[in-house]
């Protein structure tokens, strides 16, 4: 139990400390660590957590951490995973705030980020293709990802899309249930 909490804290600290570009950019590393390496969640469970974290208030990465921690080891582990993902931000930002207020004008820092930014884009594209397999995207439902991409690009909030998809799924589940009972 204690070693699990330590694993959770260290893993989420890595996730928080090594991803640039915010919540969505954390997904590839988080998936690698949580699903492939530690096997705390399956691929499809991971996607479910993503959906819920998008639809609930707060910071996406912290929501992911709290759900994953909670699922593996209860409330205490949820708190520990959340603290892990926040910890690097707290330390790095405080150092910058106190010492380096001219950090972003530094020539070398700017050069390094110019190299990193295109890699961030590639890292985001990888799970799109990987997850299409897990989510069982076929010709019959391929319109769903295309529609949600288009809606985002036209400026619809992600939370609204998730909510609409959730309601649609709920109604679909109810009708499917009815058909099965009437068939019996």
């Amino acid at each position: 139990m204690k070693s699990l909490d330590k694993d959770l804290f260290v893993t989420f600290m890595k996730i928080g400390g090594f991803t640039l570009g915010g919540g969505a950019a954390m997904i590839p590393l988080m998936e690698q660590q949580v699903v492939t390496r530690h096997q705390w969640l399956t691929h499809s469970e991971f996607m479910d957590v993503m959906a819920v974290s998008q639809a609930t208030p707060g910071v996406f990465a912290v929501n992911m951490a709290s759900h994953i921690g909670y699922k593996v080891g209860g409330i205490r582990s949820g708190i520990i995973a959340s603290l892990g993902v926040i910890f690097p931000s707290l330390v790095i930002i405080l150092i910058i705030a106190i010492i380096f207020s001219r950090f972003r004008d530094n020539h070398w820092v700017e050069a390094a980020f110019k190299g990193i930014r295109p890699a961030v884009v590639a890292l985001l594209a990888v799970p799109v293709f990987k997850m299409a397999k897990t989510a069982k995207v076929t010709w019959s439902n391929v319109w769903i990802p295309f529609l949600s991409t288009a809606l985002i690009i036209f400026g619809v909030t992600p939370a609204l899309i998730i909510l609409a998809a959730g309601v649609a799924g709920f109604l679909y589940g109810l009708t499917r249930d009815d058909k099965q009972t009437s068939a019996k």
Partner: protein
């Protein structure tokens, strides 16, 4: 009292922020710069730039920095002295405040999902949600393929070409050869330092 106000304002921001880090930045700006006037517009712009450039969730980075600055700028704290120490307390408080309410909501929802995982309705909700999430992720990747991240095709041709190369190679390496993401990011940083810092292409 600045600490009590920080707690209230950031708890409010956390609970009502739907739509991720970038949405939170504008929310923080409204509450902290416009309504409370804890920090100036220029200070906030710098904070946003640093939040984007440093690792970690953008919303958390921004809350941490704003919490520090708001306390350091406070006239009462300046009168007391030891501003850095109080600033550190302020940043921790702002960060905890922004996450604690969403944490409770998340635990409650997680509990329900885990309990009803195999129910027909839960399954069909996720059957629709999963493909929708893929679309959201694709949109995030597409929207980041911009001039700011890749360089301008005609005025910064060298940067543009190098960026496309990095993007393609990293995609192939991680997708097919399962490259380690942390090392890949660090190596791209080194490539950037060599190409733009040392050679100056």
């Amino acid at each position: 009292m600045i600490f009590l106000k920080l707690f209230i304002v950031f708890s409010y921001i956390g609970l009502f922020n739907f739509g991720g880090g970038y949405a939170m930045l504008s929310f923080i700006e409204q509450e902290v710069v416009v309504k409370q006037a804890w920090i100036s517009e220029a200070e906030f712009t710098d904070i946003v730039a640093i939040s984007q450039m440093t690792p970690g969730p953008i919303g958390i980075n921004c809350a941490t920095y704003v919490g520090y600055s708001a306390v350091v700028n406070d006239p009462f704290i300046q009168g007391v002295g030891a501003t850095h120490l109080f600033g550190i307390l302020g940043s921790i408080l702002a960060t905890i405040s922004v996450v604690w309410l969403p944490f409770l909501v998340m635990i409650w929802i997680s509990h329900i999902i885990i309990k009803h995982k195999d129910h027909k309705v839960t399954r069909s909700i996720f059957a629709i949600l999963r493909p929708a999430i893929i679309g959201l992720l694709a949109a995030a990747a597409i929207s980041l393929m911009n001039i700011e991240n890749f360089g301008h095709p005609s005025s910064q041709t060298n940067q543009f070409i190098l960026s496309i190369l990095i993007c393609l190679i990293v995609f192939c390496g991680v997708f097919w050869r399962k490259w380690n993401i942390i090392y890949t990011t660090l190596i791209c940083g080194i490539i950037g330092i060599i190409a733009y810092g040392l050679i100056g292409i």
